[in-house]
Symmetry: C2
Subunit: 408 residues, 2 copies
């Protein structure tokens, strides 16, 4: 089917979401059926606003440079289509620009959007193919073994924990405890990933706080004291989603900055809260770090495995769409763990949209403060290799699109 | 002069302080006059407590591995000798262990300690040589063009700013402002260093808050709004030492966590305070990141120039001591900026101890929110090249000493 295609990125950026975009774009270039190759600027917002730029007018070096540039070079958004009217508007734009292929790189919400637009097109009789490409550092998408973006965030955050852990090890006579806050509001995938930093008993992290384990202050302080007594220090990775048994986030319940200017619950204070708690109850000086978005955009030490899988997922989405597949998200299928082997599969967009992959309870140690060998076996292959970033004058060099608008 | 030597590390760890230790140790191995090569465990505390371990009993691979391991592998401390009695105790220990050479890698306080012990030894008639090796991410030591540790912290923090900057660029429609807190309580050297991340007008950082420039809330908000109006987003690097015209730190005056458990003023809240201020006064959602000790221990993306200079400073300290020099710190002398050329010199320990290198006011832009080309010319050469870390299973591999105690 001849026609134009649109590529869009959505939700929180990752180190390798651009690698998926690169896979989509470079594969799209190979198929004569795909005529215009357009980027929607800032995800679905770009579609709604008819804000497209022409990827055929970008240089091959820029396109290739996506593999070594973090965040979302096409622009992202958290905009959610709400009403039937919204979806109709999107379809109208697609029809207006003769867009026959839609590749949406994102998480649950993006898959939901792609699914609904696709179904509306089918009902309307508009020939159209929508394909999803998974992306999320949170690793909580259903139907896929893991998500592009996850391997890189845990590789980088583990490295931070190793390095800052050596800082605490060096200066434990004054800065005895360090708390590093990990992203992951609903699931402990990211915080758990930092377990990879621990090779020896002495190594950080010593305690991992997961949203899956109700936070018990006295048990926690007892565990901290155990490490103070045995190795004289303690490095804690606290998920921003750490919560009490009643479901309230620890930063939400007691933190001074629990609400942002708009009244939204802010979770950025978890690390700070734990630091204050440790100082008050264990009687030692503690530090805290909140890497925030830094952790998810670390292309300079991203996982090559992750980057290649992100690319392959994007590439596959185009291959399948050209073959006539629609309404699917490309999944990552683990064929073997050791040696690691991974291929791609597909899942219905609706199944991904409505599902969620929880962190397996059986991968958490009995005391609730760490993860076991099952998690290590799962996660270790995902961080292998390093993306070879382009360095210029001692710092990475990232691409930026010229963004030449598409006009009818 | 035959005798034993002690090597100690002090103060806040850096990515390359171990590279200096490596330079000292490997050079010490070459000189038959130096018999025992001892590490003081945790800086001067190790001397006071007679807690030495034998570096001749560590493998050459471990010693070499110092170059690729961050923080302070010998252990560090913030312990300060206070009375004449304290210094006498230290000298007694040196005499007891026949320690004739003392190499202290640290900042002002360490140079002060080394100086006083050295002078006491001279007065006592004990033949002894004390040499200082500079170390501080703060870059505020007198008598040296720059300090080992500085190049690496600004290279890594600049990279974080570049990467997180692309995150804000991708998601500015919701997360419009990002505040990244830089270390540096008294001087803006580190925060200023992130200016290197900016190659184009659009690039982060857009605003740098320095302790040298009194914080003016309304001017600051106006500057933020300028960027919101022109590029739709703003990335701010805020030094933890940012203060008002009256000298109070912004986090100290108004922050909810202004004091730690011990009643010490905590500056860790600067980034959070600025974030809240922006949300309240510019009316956009802001994020914040506090990399804390992570920024100073990033060996996985440390500056090779910095690492090599750190090594050279350590090596030189031993060469000079063996030749009879004492009471000096090795300095870094910039012979040329472009092309960059650097050699070593020396300065009196007392001059370093009592001095401080302020950030030059003439390197700050007129509006106070950025630095100019003079700073770029100074800083650019310091971040060149990358330390080649050892990677195992996708993560860096660091050394840890066996720490076999020295017994008399």
């Amino acid at each position: 089917m001849k026609g134009n295609c649109v590529i869009a990125q959505s939700g929180g950026p990752t180190a390798v979401i651009n690698s998926s975009a690169c896979g989509v774009i470079q594969e799209a270039f190979k198929h004569p059926d795909i005529e215009g190759i357009y980027a929607a600027h800032n995800g679905i917002l770009g579609v709604v606003n008819e804000d497209f730029f022409d990827l055929r007018k970008e240089s091959p070096e820029t396109i290739e440079g996506l593999r070594t540039s973090p965040a979302a070079a096409l622009g992202s958004c958290r905009y959610k289509l709400k009403t039937e009217e919204d979806y109709k508007k999107v379809l109208e734009v697609f029809i207006k620009y003769n867009i026959r292929y839609f590749f949406y790189i994102g998480g649950n919400d993006s898959m939901d959007t792609a699914d609904k637009v696709n179904k509306l097109a089918t009902r309307t009789g508009y020939e159209f193919r929508a394909m999803g490409v998974p992306k999320t550092i949170d690793n909580d998408l259903a139907c896929t073994d893991h998500c592009p973006g996850y391997g890189s965030v845990i590789k980088y955050l583990s490295t931070m924990v190793m390095e800052a852990g050596r800082d605490t090890e060096a200066l434990y006579t004054t800065d005895t405890v360090n708390v590093i806050e990990a992203m992951g509001r609903n699931a402990g995938w990211i915080a758990a990933g930092t377990a990879l930093a621990k090779r020896d008993e002495e190594d950080a992290p010593h305690i991992i706080l997961l949203p899956e384990v109700p936070f018990d202050e006295s048990k926690f302080i007892a565990r901290v004291k155990h490490f103070l007594d045995t190795i004289g220090r303690c490095v804690i990775v606290a998920s921003e989603g750490t919560k009490y048994a009643d479901g309230t986030y620890i930063a939400e319940q007691k933190g001074a900055f629990a609400k942002d200017a708009f009244g939204h619950t802010q979770l950025g204070g978890t690390g700070l809260y734990i630091k204050n708690l440790v100082e008050a109850q264990a009687g030692v000086k503690a530090r805290f770090a909140i890497p925030s978005t830094i952790q998810r955009t670390g292309i300079h030490f991203a996982s090559l495995t992750d980057s290649e899988e992100a690319y392959a997922a994007g590439e596959k989405a185009v291959e399948l769409a050209v073959q006539g597949v629609s309404g699917k998200m490309v999944t990552l299928v683990r064929d073997n763990s050791s040696p690691y082997a991974c291929s791609t599969g597909t899942a219905d967009l609706a199944d991904v949209a409505n599902g969620e992959k929880l962190f397996p309870k059986e991968w958490i140690t009995e005391d609730g403060f760490f993860v076991n060998e099952k998690f290590f076996a799962y996660a270790r292959p995902l961080i292998m290799g390093e993306v070879d970033t382009i360095i210029e004058d001692g710092l990475p060099r990232f691409i930026r699109f010229k963004r030449i608008p598409v006009s009818l």
